[in-house]
């Protein structure tokens, strides 16, 4: 049997969605950004909304998300993506508008923008990647860094007296009347990815139903920043992140 006898349409069990470009990703090996990008791209393909979707990339590792998902994109100033999304959606209500933001971008410098966009109930989707660290700038403390966690700016571990407490911003967001769907997911194994995809699809669908803001947190690793191997990082996340940032829906209405 020749290899060409195997490569046939009827034998195909998986294909890369064409919404994901062929550009080689700049993300570190082991980083979940690529997986989350793929999930979003697949949802866009399955919903048939490539020509109706506008993405907003943040400042941080995902700033270059526009190189990987084949839709129209705008790149936001640090933390301001929800403000951009607000106007983009209000002026173009026929478009699916989503922001893609990290923890420094969303939960530190952009706290005001995300809280107010969610509180106004903007019909947008917020994808929030929480890896408890500033990845792009070299592994500094993030608002979501756990107590005791070592980073470039907490070399002896995060100390509540010195650095304050990790911020559960998703719990705050769930309290806001303007949000309709707030969930916390992960992307570290196939089962988690399947759940995440369902959550992202629901969030996108919500944004055309005038229900308010959908907010999807993805608890993630940053093995480079955490200075662990990808496998060790997943284990550390399961043992340390998940007990504090518990997975599941916080709100669904």
């Amino acid at each position: 049997m020749d290899v060409n006898d195997i490569i046939r349409p009827e034998n195909m069990v998986y294909a890369k969605t064409p919404i994901l470009t062929d550009t080689v990703m700049h993300y570190c090996p082991g980083c979940p950004h690529g997986t989350v990008h793929k999930v979003i791209a697949e949802v866009i393909e399955e919903m048939g909304i490539q020509d109706k979707t506008i993405g907003i990339s943040p400042v941080g590792c995902a700033v270059l998300a526009y190189n990987y998902i084949d839709i129209d994109w705008e790149q936001a100033a640090h933390g301001r993506a929800p403000a951009l999304a607000t106007a983009t959606k209000r002026l173009n209500p026929d478009k699916y508008v989503f922001t893609y933001q990290g923890d420094g971008d969303l939960a530190s410098i952009g706290t005001a923008e995300v809280m107010h966009a969610c509180n106004r109930g903007e019909n947008i989707v917020v994808i929030f990647i929480n890896n408890a660290i500033y990845g792009m700038t070299g592994g500094q403390m993030a608002p979501t860094t756990l107590l005791g966690q070592k980073t470039a700016t907490t070399p002896y571990g995060r100390d509540a007296k010195l650095n304050g407490y990790p911020l559960k911003i998703t719990e705050l967001i769930a309290q806001l009347e303007g949000t309709c769907y707030v969930t916390r997911q992960s992307a570290h194994n196939p089962a988690a990815v399947r759940k995440l995809k369902k959550a992202v699809r629901k969030a996108f669908e919500n944004s055309m139903m005038d229900k308010g803001t959908s907010f999807v947190e993805v608890v993630s690793t940053c093995n480079s920043g955490w200075k662990l191997s990808p496998v060790q990082a997943n284990k550390w996340m399961e043992e340390n992140m998940f007990p504090f940032y518990q997975l599941g829906d916080l709100k669904d209405r």
């Binding site: 129209d72 005001a112 107010h116």
Partner: protein
């Protein structure tokens, strides 16, 4: 007969926005320009033209909403005053870097810091020389009447879209608050989605199979790419300098002395010119309407007939630097200004002229 209505300069901005076919306004309250958003909210243009009006949580947010709206090829604007504009500096640099058209109104008050709510012109440097980071410029229009406030919204959008550049209307508390008759122009419809797709091929209108995806970004990790962006921006600014200078003059034909003033100070200087003429001095006035591009050639062309120039501003002396650059030492350039919210009277300007030129 066109409709003429008595209104504040700030109200004229709001009517100008609705009637020129603006798609969105995003703002945050601040004195002395809050009437802009108040008027828009009263007029409810979302029920007539479909224009979106939204009160943001901060000036930082409103300028970023402008950015988000501008990426989709919509005519979007904001307004604020001095310290609010300082908060927008990052966003303005992004808008310039990403080459997005928009209109930003600054109804200046006296600074620095929280300053005063009374009028000022001390944001000239901020508007004309940068304000935010990086080598960028905005088109800066200086209205001197409520009518200008109305007209410059439409003009600002036209220029902003022609060059893909932010346009600032640099007004002040006098122009914003005073009431004058304003002739309302014809209602211009908002552009349709098809028109935007046709006129703004760069805009985020949704990636269709007939084109590549559009990306609005000001990021270039490769310095060679970033330098090319800068070279292109500088070429654009040069074209604007060559083609878009606007100014007015008053009694300059036989003038031996020239007042240079913009905005509300040009109105006051006009009265001071009359006073000087009555006393027998041949004084004229040049009022830059565009502060970038600056009418440097037009000022320079008057030099052979001049014995001196007096620049008058509600600042400690900002635009005077551009007047000095324009004449390059060929004629004495003096400065008179009040600041901190004090508006000089025509008498004061006249007396300063007499004193500074030893009359």
């Amino acid at each position: 007969m066109a409709e003429k209505i008595l209104m504040k300069g700030n109200e004229a901005i709001a009517h100008g926005a609705i009637r020129c076919g603006a798609d969105g306004y995003f703002g945050y309250p601040i004195t002395p320009q809050s009437e802009v958003m108040e008027t828009l909210m009263e007029e409810k243009p979302w029920e007539t033209t479909g224009m979106v009006v939204l009160q943001a949580e901060s000036e930082t947010s409103s300028i970023n909403m402008v950015y988000g709206g501008a990426t989709t090829g919509k005519k979007v604007m904001t307004s604020s005053s001095s310290l609010g504009i300082s908060l927008m500096a990052e966003g303005l640099s992004y808008l310039a870097g990403a080459e997005l058209p928009c209109v930003v109104v600054n109804v200046m008050r006296g600074g620095p810091g929280l300053g005063t709510i009374q009028p000022g012109q001390a944001d000239y440097f901020q508007a004309v020389k940068g304000g935010g980071h990086g080598d960028y410029k905005m088109i800066v229009l200086a209205p001197a009447s409520a009518q200008d406030m109305y007209d410059f919204v439409g003009l600002g959008f036209d220029l902003a879209f022609k060059y893909r550049i932010p346009a600032m209307i640099l007004s002040d508390g006098v122009i914003g608050q005073m009431m004058e008759k304003v002739e309302l122009g014809e209602m211009k419809p908002r552009r349709t989605a098809e028109e935007i797709r046709e006129q703004c091929p760069w805009a985020l209108t949704g990636k269709t199979s007939d084109r590549n995806r559009n990306i609005i970004t000001s990021l270039a990790l490769d310095p060679n790419v970033q330098e090319r962006t800068n070279i292109r921006l500088q070429e654009k600014y040069k074209a604007i300098q060559e083609n878009e200078v606007r100014y007015t003059t008053y009694m300059v034909e036989d003038a031996e002395y020239l007042f240079v003033a913009y905005g509300s100070m040009s109105r006051i200087c006009e009265a001071a010119v009359d006073q000087a003429r009555e006393a027998g001095y041949k004084v004229g006035l040049l009022r830059p309407v565009t502060l970038f591009p600056y009418p440097e050639k037009q000022i320079c062309d008057l030099v052979p007939q001049l014995k001196g120039i007096l620049t008058v501003e509600m600042s400690a002396g900002q635009m005077v630097e551009d007047v000095r650059l324009a004449v390059n030492g060929k004629v004495p350039v003096e400065f008179f200004g009040r600041n901190g919210g004090i508006v000089p009277s025509p008498d004061e300007v006249y007396e300063a002229f007499v004193k500074l030129f030893n009359k």
